[in-house]
Subunit: 111 residues, 2 copies
DNA sequence: TAGTCATGTCACTATATGGTGACATATATC
DNA sequence: GATATATGTCACCATATAGTGACATGACTA
């Protein structure tokens, strides 16, 4: 399991992306995050934070009895650069291929 | 489960990202993809292709007894634009927060 | 020091997921 | 038509994952 795999797996869960969204604007304690997600118990939030921390997407600072969770956008940017831009590099030719085969189809392809 | 959730979930598996890598350079039949992944049985490859198709990341064209799998980079680009760029937008201030708190720590934060 | 508050940890459950083999269908080829 | 080939489908298994409640730890506060 490479670090990049950990990042993708962490981002694969909608709850974890929501947690990252919360942390994007400001660091929050675990308790504050739990308060924002009334549908989850505290243990579930902590598990998700653990996954995000293992992936390096969240960095933790302990202060007294508080645990401050910081988003770490660097890995996101790295993955975006290495994989997604690599994919998008093929966009033009792939779209051309799609166009040429869609001419023989009735249904349009997914947006 | 929104379409965006399906995309992230599909990208969360390393095997599926490898399949997309294969399709990035050229469309392939299912049999050709199976040949490229000797560690997987054909059924497993087809399941992964089904997940990618549900997410709209792969488009299928049937030709006789062949099934041609095309990558569809449009959703990847859309997700990259809507979520990742939104995350990276916070990069500067987040990095500043990280820097300021790291001054009080010994260990550097994950790369 | 006693109590509370926030966090950490453990055992457990239900479901999702990745993987497989067996069998069915459809198409090209002899 | 008989056969080989590529794909489709089904039931099944093992494991990973998300989630929960109960309990433990550790720090602030009266």
């Amino acid at each position: 399991m490479t670090n990049e795999d950990l990042i993708w797996k962490a981002l694969g869960d909608p709850t974890r992306r929501a947690l990252l969204d919360d942390l994007a604007s400001e660091p929050l304690t675990t308790g504050e995050l739990v308060a924002k997600h009334s549908d989850l118990c505290r243990t579930a939030v902590m598990k998700h934070l653990g996954v995000l921390e293992d992936a390096g997407l969240v960095v933790v600072r302990r202060e007294g009895r508080h645990r401050w969770n910081y988003i770490n956008p660097v890995p996101i940017d790295r993955v975006c650069g290495r994989w997604i831009h690599g994919q998008v590099r093929h966009l033009t030719q792939a779209v051309n291929r799609l166009k040429s085969f869609v001419e023989d189809q009735e249904e349009p392809w997914p947006q």
